[in-house]
Amino acid sequence: MAEVTLLETRGLTRRFGGLTAVDAVDFRLSRGEVRAIIGPNGAGKSTFVGLLSGLIAPGAGSIAFDGQDITRMPAHRRVRAGIAYTFQITNIYPAMTVLENAAIAAQSRLGTGSEAAIEAAARAALAAVGLSDLETRRAGDLAYGHQRLVEVAMGLALAPKLLILDEPTQGLSDAEIANFIAVIRRVAASATVLLIEHNMDVVMALAGRITVMENGRILAEGTPDQITRDPAVQAAYLGGAS
């Protein structure tokens, strides 16, 4: 099948003092796939997606997204270009209602012209994550699992081409994780998904391909099957973790 490249990095590097957090990474993501990045703590996963989203400026290398070079593009313009990013630590507007949270995301795409259109888009995003019943509640009053879903809904309301999720299931209960997997499966029908995840059950349930990082480099890449059988991966990561 013909794979269209959505995102590609070449020699992407970022150093913090003496530490090379991301070391000359060449990475390619195809349109429509669900990709998981795994690796031990300190492997450079969060820094890597931070570079993709524009939260962190690269030291060297280039990033191309949807056919254009975005290496120097500021973060907010990358979001407009189609890269949505959800924070590792829940980052919402706690004092506002759930609907307002989603509406702020929706109006980023729709402009401030029509309040009716904004609300409709916000409601659609909330419905997609199953939060319709809670739309008038203060976001900060919700349970933690629901706050994470608010965050995903905000990502969806942007109608992104690429949705980056940084450890989305951290701190969720088993039931919430099952619901989360179902939500992401629906999202994957319309967007490319890149997630950093420690929970291997989530990775195996969602990811079409897996990238393994270690010490700022890509150690291995392949289908879940290939990765679980890769001896280097077993030695470096799977053996120690679970």
Binding site: V79, A95, M96, E100, I104, A105, E115
Partner: protein
């Protein structure tokens, strides 16, 4: 927008109706006091756009009030233009000054922002003193142009009733305009920048530009008030550019409730009436202001309407 917060919209209309109705009940001095309240309420509403809605606590809004006042007043005195044109020039002048100051001051945040805005405003005040031969300095300037034609109607600004109705019209337009702005997507965006700038950036917004827009809006409305004040009463002077003017906007907003549309209006009315009542003890005025500033920060940081909003009426925003 109207369907978004119908109760607040109804309340705004009621306030406007009360404002126009008041002149048939009151006469003489109260009308003059009310005229001042309406004009200063516009100032406080403008201040509230930056301080309450967008979370930028400025200590320099006297500069924008004075920019509007001087641009309008100088145009009227030296420019041989009619009052409506001078008013427009005042608004444009305030917009230009707030854009320039915003571009500089918004590079800083919180405490530095407060000090920087204070210092720029102080420079503005000192400039009005330095160029006293043009501005009138401390003594001020009286403006001789005291009337204008509105189509076939001649409006005489020496008449108390005319001044009151001009102020009431400007007040109403500003109130409704800010209602439309704050109760829809733009107001939500200001609040988003105030509550969580990092998240807002990662939703695709240029936070610096939104802050600048809110700041320029705020300064322009403040300057509209200054222009109206100068042209309405036919006098401009350095004292309006003093630090005290900035503190008054802050005080009115804090009393009424930052981030509520009608809070600054209520705060202006209450404080102006209170100060008039204290007329016999003018010496005590700064003590009252000082004690209120402390008491509000200690026990009442959300002001009157802000507290009512949080306790009982969530639509009062």
């Amino acid at each position: 927008m109207i369907r978004h917060n119908p109760r607040l919209f109804a309340l705004c209309l009621a306030v406007i109706a009360a404002v126009f109705g008041a002149q048939f009940v009151l006469a003489g001095y109260p009308v003059l006091a009310l005229t001042r309240i309406l004009i200063l309420a516009v100032f406080a509403m403008g201040y509230n756009m930056a301080m309450g809605y967008a979370g930028m606590l400025s200590l320099g809004h006297a500069l924008f009030f004075a920019a509007g006042m001087y641009a309008a007043g100088m145009a009227s005195r030296y420019g041989a233009v009619g009052l409506p044109v001078a008013f427009g020039i005042g608004i444009l002048g305030a917009a230009a000054v707030s854009l320039g100051i915003g571009l500089l001051a918004l590079r800083t945040r919180t405490v530095s922002f407060m000090i920087v805005t204070l210092m720029f405003a102080q420079v503005g005040y000192l400039l009005t003193l330095q160029f006293a031969d043009v501005t009138g300095g401390d003594q001020g300037l009286t403006l001789s142009e005291r009337g204008f034609a509105l189509g076939p109607v001649a409006v005489d600004m020496t008449s108390g009733a005319a001044r009151y109705n001009v102020a009431a019209v400007v007040f109403s337009v500003v109130l409704l305009g800010l209602y439309a702005l704050t109760q829809g997507p733009v107001g939500r965006l200001f609040a988003a920048v105030r509550e969580n700038p990092e998240r807002t950036r990662m939703l695709g917004y240029d936070v610096a530009r939104i802050r600048l827009a809110a700041f320029v809006l705020s300064g322009t409305v403040a300057g509209t008030s200054g222009a109206l004040y100068g042209l309405t009463f036919g006098f401009i002077g350095s004292s309006f550019a003093e630090f005290r003017t900035s503190i008054e906007a802050l005080l009115y907003t804090l009393v009424g409730g930052p981030g509520t549309l009608l809070g600054p209006v209520l705060g202006t009315a209450l404080m102006t009436v209170l100060i008039d009542r204290l007329g016999g003890l003018t010496a005590a005025y700064p003590i009252v202001v000082g004690a209120l500033l402390i008491a509000l920060t200690l026990w009442f940081p959300k002001g009157l309407l802000g507290t009512i909003r949080d306790r009982w009426l969530p639509w009062l925003k």
